[in-house]
């Protein structure tokens, strides 16, 4: 632990084009060959990557004003509603939003071919988007109805702001029931017909920095093919969970909220997705550089698939109805081999996140840093860690009929 490097020293090396940057896959072989002490001196940055469905994503857009001006009450992009309960021509388009005309699950399983994630991808691809808005009209904003065509170039600001991305570990989903399930983990065949898993394992950002020692508020990242930043911990950030000796959580744990300018992103790394029977969402590409400040941090980044475990969860009853059904854990080496064993049965594994894409993100970030185009940043504040005592809360089961007063501004107490 004696040898230490500072953010500034690493950036100095990046600026001089001397930085030694390796991916979270490459680092595994390097430490095996050279040992931790030597490798920690040599390596400046380890790059990570993940590319998978991240529903809690979206973008703020300021459309600029029409003439006459409008205070949007409702606004739609290609028929998909964006939230405009903020200033006149500001809106937030969420990845999971569906067009009003979508048949949803009326004919089960629904197909969900287009949603907010697809709108964002189309915007970033420079495509023309149909913009419609309605308003009630005010003295300052008299316009009541607007219909036009826009592209990303036409709007003032468009920045992605995702409340929860890059989940640190995730459940492996199975189906103990007797009918197929259509879930956010994809199609789950009955009677343990397959096991769906997500995250990129040994390449995944937060699995390489399990105690959030370098990833914090302000960390500069690869986001959607461009540059973004960690804005806050993500929603459902729940760091104080069961962990392995190596610090890696055995269940879903930390999350990140990230932000970045949509105008410099790339539609290859922001992809609208359709999950049969579930809904629309989008895949987001995220890569985070981890500065090797000392040997301990290098240890974390050398984590291997076989050392990362995730819980196997039943989605027939266990997950939807919060029933405790113990199916054990699976490690990522097994999951990535294509088969795992559950209750003595061989089960085929279905990946949700793209490992080849995660690999490409880590390689791209490595290229940017090596070329001196991307400097690492020291967090302005660290994220709540494993010792933070954060409760994982649920919606309380109370009965409004029994006297909770709404709209009183009194906090709804009995």
């Amino acid at each position: 632990m004696s040898y230490q490097k500072s953010y500034e020293e690493i950036n100095e090396r990046i600026r001089k084009g001397e930085a030694v940057v390796v991916t979270a896959e490459e680092v595994i072989d390097i430490v095996e060959e050279k040992g931790y002490a030597k490798a920690a001196r040599e390596i400046d940055v380890v790059t990570t990557g993940t590319f998978g469905p991240m529903c809690s994503s979206g973008a703020f857009i300021n459309f600029g004003h029409a003439n006459p001006r409008i205070k949007m009450k409702k606004v739609w992009l290609n028929g998909v509603e964006a939230y405009t309960g903020i200033a006149a021509v500001d809106a937030y388009i969420g990845a999971g939003q569906l067009p009003e005309s979508d048949p949803e699950n009326k004919v089960y399983p629904g197909r969900f071919t287009y949603g907010g994630g697809h709108v964002i991808q189309d915007l970033v691809a420079g495509k023309e988007i149909r913009l419609e808005a309605i308003a009630y009209g005010t003295d300052c904003y008299p316009n009541r109805k607007l219909e036009t065509i826009i592209t990303l170039d036409d709007v003032n600001e468009a920045f992605m702001f995702n409340p929860r991305n890059a989940y640190q570990n995730y459940n492996c989903a199975v189906n103990l029931g007797d009918r197929p399930l259509y879930t956010y983990m994809g199609i789950l065949r009955p009677k343990l017909g397959n096991a769906a898993y997500s995250t990129s394992g040994q390449l995944s950002p937060l699995l390489n920095d399990p105690h959030y020692k370098t990833i914090g508020i302000g960390t500069r990242i690869f986001l959607g093919g461009g540059i973004g930043y960690v804005a806050w911990n993500g929603t459902q950030h729940h760091p104080n969970v069961l962990r392995e000796e190596n610090g890696v959580p055995k269940t879903p744990a930390g999350t990140l909220s990230v932000i970045g300018d949509l105008k410099q992103m790339d539609p290859n790394w922001l992809v609208g997705l359709s999950y049969a029977g579930y809904g629309a969402t989008m895949a987001i590409g995220i890569g985070i550089p981890i500065p090797i400040l000392d040997e301990e941090i290098l240890h974390y980044t050398a984590v291997k698939d076989e050392d990362i475990y995730c819980p196997i969860v039943d989605f027939f009853e266990g997950y939807p109805y919060k029933k405790d059904i113990d199916l054990g854990f699976a490690n990522f080496k097994e999951l990535k081999s294509g088969k795992i064993t559950i209750n003595g049965k061989q089960v085929v594994t279905t990946p949700q996140s793209s490992y080849p894409r995660a690999r490409k993100i880590a390689a791209t970030l490595k290229e940017w840093i090596t070329a001196g185009k991307f400097e690492i940043s020291q967090p302005v504040q660290m994220l709540p860690g494993a010792d933070s005592n954060i409760d994982f809360k649920s919606i309380p089961d109370r009965h409004p009929a029994n006297g909770i007063i709404f709209n009183s501004g009194m906090g709804g107490k009995k």
Partner: protein
């Protein structure tokens, strides 16, 4: 022998239990991949037909004698590599490893010659990069 074929029925023919006959009288294995047959309407059926050559030929002759048009299935599943994000979900649903994942690179590939057009991959692809393309003419 094993072949993937498309059968075209007229309205009258769709009333007959031809699958039963193919199995019982000609000892053929029938795997129906797609069917669109309604009473009193013309229809079509895409199937994989397996059996001894003699039986197979006699079965086809039987279908022709009923006036059912049999044609080889010319096009099947289309995999759009540009839309594919290489997640690999499809490979876990594909029964014949036509869509397969190379475990070292974790990359997906598609071998059309192994595909039996079961359609399992269509629903599970989140980018809808896989499409079924039947080269079917208007029903008779």
């Amino acid at each position: 022998m094993k072949n993937r074929i498309v059968l075209y029925f007229s309205a009258a023919q769709s009333e007959q239990p031809i699958i039963y006959q193919l199995v019982k009288e000609y000892d053929l294995i029938v795997n129906i991949l797609k069917a669109n047959i309604n009473p009193q309407k013309e229809g079509l059926m895409v199937m994989e037909l397996t059996g001894e050559k003699d039986n197979y030929d006699s079965g086809i002759k039987y279908l022709s004698s009923l006036g059912v048009t049999c044609e080889p299935l010319s096009e099947t599943v289309m995999w759009n590599e540009t839309l594919c994000i290489q997640c690999g979900a499809c490979a876990s649903f594909c029964p014949t490893e036509a869509l397969a994942m190379e475990r070292e690179s974790m990359e997906v590939s598609f071998d059309n010659s192994k595909c039996v057009v079961c359609g399992m991959c269509l629903e599970c692809c989140p980018t809808r990069a896989i499409k079924l393309h039947f080269d079917i003419r208007e029903a008779v």
